[in-house]
Symmetry: C2
Subunit: 366 residues, 2 copies
């Protein structure tokens, strides 16, 4: 651990001290061929001795690249401190580090835009690739594609645009949920959703319908709510009120498109004294931490968020390195986490002790 007491050393210092030219040092630095083994060793020794680290901006200027990855999140996704996306970001950051990239996180308004409100890193060409997490306005996508930079989406897909993406296996997750509820004897299973234009929600919804159909279970239209604009807690509350507040026949189980909606629903039930899970079994999706705090604890589907982030970075780095624009979609595995809100488990497990199977991956190069 040496202090940067004096001036920081440059490639020239290294070259001089090693008795070689700057170019040779550069070759070593970048692991290029045609450097004698001893020369390489020598240079590396000097580098270590001087604690030399190439300067980012100099390198960036010379190579016309920044060493940064742009991470874009819409304001509403992040500003509600959505822990879902926080974890994704964290996974990205850790992975980026491995590859010597920095991540520039920026939030943007969800749709319209003019050049003024563009993330600065676009204008200043300060990123080598882009990660977009969550649903975002298509105007953004258009713009981003026009930049000609490698792009990868997380938890979002656009069939039309042929973009690489990392998503959770929403269909399997939803299927697991519905099968779980069926197994518990439910036949009146409702769906608490939001904007079906969000592909993840649509996938969950479709798998829900398909699974019910496959088991020849009918569903009343009034048990399905897909009118809410966003899958947030308040909206779960409101949708639950509409669906359960009246006198109409209620479902006995409810699959919410995500945990926030499920928690909103539970909040309504608590206020209306509808006992969960006895009068209504509730299941969410995402496995956010708050699901552990409520009473009863929320049965849900675990999504490997950090992993989604790290995979996205890995793919993106490949795209940058190989200058490939091969579109590839990765689906991360999910698993059902059974707690009390679905009525399958009666005892409360010790706090913060929950073992989840490790994730595996299915990849599809398309």
């Amino acid at each position: 651990m040496k202090r940067p007491s004096t001036r920081r050393s440059t490639i020239e210092d290294v070259a001089r001290k090693a008795g070689l030219s700057v170019s040779t040092v550069s070759l070593v630095l970048n692991n290029k061929a045609n450097v004698r083994k001893e020369t390489r060793k020598k240079v590396q020794a000097v580098i270590a001795e001087l604690d030399y680290h190439p300067q980012r901006s100099a390198r960036g200027l010379a190579t016309q690249s920044s060493g940064n990855i742009g991470f874009i999140l819409t304001e509403d996704h992040f500003s509600h401190a959505e822990p879902f996306y926080t974890k994704i970001f964290l996974g990205s950051e850790l992975e980026a580090r491995q590859h010597n990239y920095y991540i520039l996180l920026t939030t943007v308004a969800s749709s319209v835009h003019n050049t003024k409100e563009m993330p600065r890193f676009f204008l200043e060409r300060n990123v080598d690739g882009i990660i977009v997490a969550g649903k975002i306005g298509s105007s953004w996508i258009e713009y981003i594609c026009d930049m000609g930079l490698p792009v990868i989406l997380i938890d979002y897909e656009l069939p039309r645009h042929r973009l690489s993406a990392v998503t959770a296996d929403n269909s399997s997750g939803a299927r697991l949920v519905v099968e779980h509820l069926l197994k518990l004897g439910h036949t009146k299973i409702g769906f608490l959703g939001a904007d079906l234009k969000h592909p993840s929600i649509a996938e969950r919804y479709n798998a829900y319908r398909d699974t019910l159909a496959a088991h020849d279970v009918a569903v009343a239209q009034s048990w399905i709510s897909t009118d809410e604009p966003t899958p947030r807690l308040e909206n779960g509350y409101h949708a639950a009120r509409r669906m359960l507040g009246g006198s109409a026949a209620r479902p006995t189980a409810l699959f919410a498109a995500n945990d926030a909606l499920a928690l909103g629903c539970m909040k309504f039930c608590k206020e209306s004294e509808i006992p969960i899970p006895d009068a209504l079994a509730v299941v969410g999706f995402d496995n956010i931490e708050s699901g552990l705090l409520v009473e009863p604890r929320l049965t849900t589907v675990n999504v490997h968020r950090e992993e989604m982030g790290s995979i996205a970075v890995r793919r993106l780095v490949e795209m940058i390195r190989d200058k490939s624009n091969l579109v590839n979609r990765t689906t991360t595995q999910v698993e059902l986490v059974i707690r009390e809100s679905s009525g399958a488990r009666r005892q409360s497990a010790p706090v913060a002790k929950e073992v989840l199977a490790l994730a595996k991956l299915k990849e599809v190069a398309s």
Copy 2:
């Protein structure tokens, strides 16, 4: 909105098109003196026309600065997706944007370190200043100070090091809590804390004791818990079990050093069927979102997290710009948020509808 169809334009393109030299354009770019008004106008027009934006790395190389701010968080703070720090980060990012800085967020191990695990941005001299959020090992602080970069702490202080810092007004917050409980008639008020070496917790603890003393209210040692290593939910749970599980005389009210501890405590009470607030009033600190989810909802102290982040950036930018090393400490105001867990309010308010007074600031330049 123009597409970057061709090559991106450089300062030379601007100069040529404006019929001026590169240097003049640079002068305009940096708002330097001695440029004729019309010349300035002309240049600006061309800049707009070409949609020119100076390239970060070129600028960085020339000025030996990066345009980045390093944001350091210990792993445990962030990896638990602590929403507390997420919000602080968000505030920083928004503010940084105003000043044309990027934020590089990195997490570090909480203590020991060798050069290998240093954030890369140090080694590559890729930041112009540093923000440290939350408690961090003193070895880190030493190292960071040695870098000679401007530093500002958020939610942490080190009397010995004379560093600038942004903190919440912990003392006032704790005083408000205790007075609130006293007003409700409590005289047996316990404290659920953790590591007193964390200055924020220590401040809250001291204000708690002082306020009680000022009102001549005694407190049993068994009602004070400060043994937990970190102020996290599990630890609140354990501490509550130790304090309330036995047969000894219980306090009737408990002030937890933060919301996570309070929630852990509530979890224990729920399992042990200790009714809140009837048998025990509970108050937290921080106002994290989960406090709204539990039943009863948590009375707490609101801390303006985004604001703390934005203030930190503002101060840091000043330090960078003025090359000043004036130490200054800013304390952001807090306010009591009364909900049901303290027993002062019986009705449940409508979901997600809570009006908080706007924050004001007290500043002390020292």
